[in-house]
């Protein structure tokens, strides 16, 4: 059983940074995919280097090609950033009213987290999603770590049906959700 983490700086125990964005759909179109992929590509911290509809085929990233494929063929884009800060990610290409964008940063030093956070914040400003969470996965996670990460892997359909999974290290909300939070039971 893993021992409890010592009470010290968190960043040295962080293995991965998850950024999960829920945007309004449908995203099964070339235009919607172009908007998302262009937004990703326009920032140095989030620009992919490779991408395709096939996770075994890391073709050089081209938002035009990938958006055309995702909008017209079966499958959703998977993309990678092979240089620091490294990540892999995916975008739902779906006819549903909500779509998920997932970025999973890994293999980085503690000092890289702030630039990652800044890059995700700029991406949020561009896409203005309904809900965004940025959270961490820790090395050798214990029960409290798992509880903290609960809901981090929420998919678009669960989000649509069950509501956002809560508050994480950093969370962004769209106006509709802010207004909804003002309602009283």
């Amino acid at each position: 059983m893993p021992s409890a983490p010592t009470k010290n700086a968190n960043s040295s125990n962080i293995a991965e940074v998850y950024a999960v964005l829920f945007v309004n759909g449908p995203t099964k179109s070339v235009a919607a995919q172009s908007a998302i992929l262009d937004a990703l590509a326009s920032d140095p911290e989030t620009a992919p280097t490779n991408g395709s509809l096939n996770d075994r085929k890391r073709a050089p990233f081209s938002s035009v090609t990938l958006a055309a494929d995702a909008g017209t063929k079966i499958g959703s884009p998977i993309f990678w950033r092979m240089k620091s800060p490294k990540y892999w990610g995916m975008v739902d290409a779906s006819p549903q009213p909500i779509a998920r964008i997932l970025l999973k940063y890994e293999d980085f030093g503690p000092r890289a987290i702030r630039p990652v956070w800044s890059g995700v914040a700029r991406l949020v400003d561009r896409l203005q999603p309904g809900y965004v969470l940025l959270h961490f996965r820790w090395i050798n996670p214990i029960r409290d770590h798992a509880a903290s990460m609960n809901g981090m892997a929420t998919k678009a359909l669960e989000y649509s049906r069950s509501a956002p999974p809560g508050v994480f290290a950093c969370t962004w909300f769209r106006p509709e959700l802010v207004a909804r939070s003002a309602r009283r039971p």
């Binding site: 983490p5 009470k7 010290n8 700086a9 968190n10 960043s11 125990n13 962080i14 940074v17 549903q96 009213p97 909500i98 503690p110 987290i113 702030r114 956070w117 914040a121 949020v124 400003d125 203005q128 961490f136 820790w138 409290d144 770590h145 509880a147 903290s148 609960n150 809901g151 929420t154 359909l157 669960e158 649509s160 049906r161 069950s162 509501a163 956002p164 999974p165 809560g166 508050v167 994480f168 290290a169 950093c170 969370t171 962004w172 909300f173 769209r174 106006p175 959700l177 802010v178 207004a179 909804r180 939070s181 003002a182 309602r183 009283r184 039971p185």
Partner: protein, 144 residues
């Protein structure tokens, strides 16, 4: 403890009460700490629990500690989703799937194996895909 930038209010919503601040595009952002990656995990987790508890009465968030997740009390599922609700009263219900008569007949008899209660039987190395345990037990009883 509320982050310094959280002192700017954006209204009277629940999110504001737990420290959210407005964004340039009219949304809200909430950071549990100014640099959440720099604080000890215990502090981050305690703050996360506290904020989630404070925002729970709003019914905005779902409960993802359960499978499937429990819907937030004030959340209205978005339209255009695949149907999952049970049929309304008076609507015709789809027939239950039928199992083969042989299987059904084995219920409440020694031929029926509940769950994985197969003590004393070594199935290691045996490809059981597509084979029901009842058939295996029945076959082994015949051979013994």
């Amino acid at each position: 403890m509320v982050p310094a930038r959280a002192r700017r209010a954006i209204g009277t919503t629940t999110l504001t009460k737990v420290g959210a601040v407005s964004t340039s595009w009219g949304g809200a952002s909430l950071s549990l700490f100014d640099e959440p990656w720099s604080v000890p995990f215990e502090d981050l987790y305690a703050r996360q629990i506290a904020v989630n508890e404070m925002s729970r009465p709003s019914g905005v968030f779902g409960d993802y500690s359960e499978i499937p997740p429990k819907k937030g009390a004030q959340w209205m599922p978005l339209t255009g989703l695949p149907k999952e609700d049970p049929p309304k009263a008076g609507a015709s219900t789809p027939p239950k799937p039928k199992i083969p008569n042989v299987w059904a007949a084995s219920r409440h008899t020694n031929e029926f194996v509940r769950g994985s209660n197969v003590e004393g039987r070594d199935f290691s190395g045996v490809d059981l895909s597509g084979i029901r345990l009842e058939e295996v037990v029945r076959g082994s009883r015949r051979s013994s």
